[in-house]
């Protein structure tokens, strides 16, 4: 045995030496513009960065691809690859003037023809993205510095639509091969997408020829890490300098390791949908369910502060969102409403509650909501299942209660799309089968309103109407978290439609 000990000692020394070779970076100091950073992102690409899929927004958030417009903090259209825009004498057409001096990552200049090629591609795919679907979209060059975008009917929000990540502009060479566009070294953004390793990682290099403020790091390694604990530990160990989507339980731990953690609202609502085709056609029953649910408790205790209680469809992520907290549960009112609708201990209301497990908080919330409803005298049969399998029944209104998590901005900072598809009488995603002429008339006004402030006022009014009509229970607005360590400059984007990486700068060691 004694003869073995030196071997063990040697092995320990070897491991220590090996480990010492890869010891992490030192402490943070001033900014290092030539630094390299590694970031851990939550969601890997699902369609090889295809623009027509939700991956389009990914290229935008990485700072690789850019759109004709972007949005400012007040969710108004702002210049992007286009510096200005105007509706022409024909109200169906908008003219966008392109930014001069912009070059693609392959060195070719941004021209009207390049924009026509890019937008023409995405408009011609099998399933064009929501931002331009079913509006008779077409695009044409207009002289040496502008494009004309025409729709079948006058469109009040074309500048806003053009900020959608699905409408990024790549160099013409990206589209020359047929099939899906080539995303490597064909964007215009502050970062060049240099390497893609499937769903595992990607490498970005700074675009030194960028037309705007230069990116904060010379090189960024993007790691797609689906496990939240891995992202948190990576940040704590220094392997990651930035990570999004930290688990609530790890936030304090990450902070104690010296990382900055930003918590900011997401443009998302967890909503308890109530089918008006089955049990909940009676508004008193919907109001009873609303009164039975203690939203502040769900946010503070069940989700441990990872969400804000919701009082309306829109929350603090958007300028027109409601920030007043909702009331707690009122069991007496809930029971009274149930009794008024003919339900009580002798004839209890029994409802099926469905949800899906893709977002881990959903089954937990559904269980807690079920328990709260039971306290009010509503019997709940909870089912957690695959959304794709549930969808046909949901679309047909063949459900009682469905806990859904829905982004209310989808692709650009305008809520008309969600308000129309989810709540108008003919809405394509109107799961609750809610139908109100007053609501539809309100939404109809959006089609003629181009002023952003006026539109936002209408969005808020629509949300209030939904609350009054007890259309679903807006349960919570989830919060996003992002941690940074060894980097500065993170700017939270509650709207989720702007680049997050270019502003990050490595601290000097």
């Amino acid at each position: 045995m004694g003869r073995r000990l030196p071997g063990v000692v040697l092995a320990a020394v070897a491991v220590a030496a090996l480990a010492a070779g890869c010891a992490g970076a030192g402490s943070a100091g001033g900014a290092d513009p030539d630094g390299e950073i590694t970031v851990g992102l939550q969601f890997p690409p699902r369609a090889a960065y295809a623009f027509e899929a939700d991956d389009g927004a990914r290229l935008q958030s990485l700072g690789v691809a850019e759109t004709l417009t972007t949005v400012d903090d007040q969710a108004r259209p702002a210049p992007g690859l286009a510096t200005s825009w105007e509706q022409t004498a024909d109200p169906r057409t908008w003219r966008f003037v392109l930014r001069p001096g912009v070059t693609f990552h392959d060195g070719t200049p941004l021209t009207p023809d390049a924009v026509v090629t890019a937008l023409g591609y995405v408009a011609g795919v099998t399933a064009p993205p929501r931002a331009i679907r079913d509006i008779g979209f077409s695009v044409a060059a207009d002289g040496a510095d502008a494009v004309l975008i025409t729709t079948a009917a006058p469109d009040p929000i074309m500048p806003m639509r053009m900020s959608s990540g699905n409408l990024g502009i790549l160099a013409p060479t990206a589209y020359s091969g047929g099939g899906q566009p080539q995303v490597l070294r064909t964007g215009t953004g502050p970062y060049v997408l240099d390497t893609v390793n499937g769903t595992d990682s990607a490498v970005l290099l700074r675009n030194d020829a960028y037309w705007g403020p230069k990116a904060g790091a010379a090189r960024v390694t993007v790691r797609y890490l689906p496990d939240p604990q891995t992202r948190a530990l990576g940040l704590q160990s220094g392997d990651l300098q930035f990570a999004e989507g930290l688990p609530g339980a790890a936030v304090e731990q990450v902070r104690s390791a010296g990382a900055d953690v930003a918590e900011y609202p997401a443009a998302r609502t967890v909503e308890l949908l109530m089918s008006q085709s089955t049990l909940f056609g009676d508004v008193r029953l919907r109001q009873a369910v609303t009164a039975a649910i203690d939203r502040p408790t769900l946010a503070a205790q069940v989700l441990a502060g990872a969400a804000a209680p919701a009082s309306e469809l829109f929350g603090a992520a958007v300028p027109w969102g409601a920030t007043t907290p909702p009331p707690g549960a009122d069991l007496a009112r809930a029971k009274a409403l149930l009794a008024e609708a003919g339900h009580g201990p002798d004839r209890p209301l029994t409802a099926r509650l469905w949800t899906f497990p893709n977002r881990p908080e959903m089954p937990v919330l559904a269980t807690a909501i079920g328990s709260m409803l039971e306290q009010a005298g509503i019997r709940v049969e909870l089912t957690v299942g695959d959304y794709a399998a549930q969808e046909p029944d949901l679309l047909a209104g063949r459900f009682d209660l469905f806990l859904n998590s829905r982004s209310y901005l989808s692709d650009y900072a305008d809520a008309a799309s969600t308000l129309t598809s989810d709540y108008t009488c003919g809405g394509s995603y109107n799961l609750e089968h809610y139908c109100s002429p007053a609501y539809d008339a309100l939404i109809q006004r959006l089609a003629e309103t181009s002023d952003t402030a006026q539109r936002q006022a209408l969005f808020a009014e629509a949300a209030r109407l939904l609350t009054t009509d007890a259309v679903g229970v807006m349960v919570v607005h989830p919060r996003n978290t992002a941690g940074s360590r060894g980097v500065t400059g993170f700017v939270p984007d509650p709207l989720g439609v702007r680049p997050i990486l270019p502003s990050l700068t490595r601290s000097a060691t």
Partner: protein, 315 residues
Amino acid sequence: MLLRRLLPLPLLLVVASVVAFALPRLVGGDTDSVVRAVLRARVASATPDPQVEAAVAAQFGLDGPVVGQYLRWLGAVLRGDLGLGYVTRTPVAAQLGDALAVSGLLAGCALLLAAATGIPAGVYAARRPGGLLDRVLSAVGIAGVSVPEFVLAPWLVLVAAVWLGVLPALGWGGPQHLVLPALTLAAYPAALAAQLVRAETIDVLARDHVRLARAKGLSEGRVLWRHAARLGCVSVTALSGMFVAGLLGGSVVVEVVFGIPGAGRLMYDAVLARDLPVVQAGTLVIVAVAVVAGIVVEVVALLADPVARDREAAR
């Protein structure tokens, strides 16, 4: 010997192909819901559109009867065409090849580490059953068998990467990235090997040929390692085939926690993204590789064990 064991492989692969093809569809409910899930990943829309669904289904070979889909897929596989992944639109064969190379290296290191620690621990523990060393090693062994990977991995990261800062918490590329994942994967087989070797070595130490060796005046070390430990390790060698098979496709937790682009992580991502070509071909290839690797290890174990070798030859 090897060929005879490989004979049932084609039948096994046909069964595996049916399971690999049917499982994602059974989990998703029906073909339509699979199409919808695939569509949702490919198309930025929450609202289904029957025309778009039909076009995407045709594009991805999800149209027509399920049996026809299976036969089309199997025919392509037999021609060596595993198709393109839905997510990356790159050949599945290349994706699997790269991922299996990573998992193979990780599995190999983990098994070497398990053998290098588990076998000596078992042998030393067998010297004095019930002694202090035996009890300590038994306790460590129980912990190694009972602590799951999803608990052990974060703890190792916390200690080695966060507190001590001597190893990376995640990633793949250098030898330093192997240490923590290999340690995590090695814990269970090392603990099991230690228990097996201990039990068998205690048994062998009581046999006549060992008593004879001692009577001849051989040192305790020689007796232990030359005569007892060799035989005590035979069952562990046979068992390692099972571990190879499991580690090649089954190290999902470790690969996800450490962000390693291996076969487990590939399959995990593919299942979440409903990347059917990767899930189907991945299941098939991993089963095939694991079975072949298991058989090869089993044959090696047989060759190392003279008694079993004679028994095999007599069949």
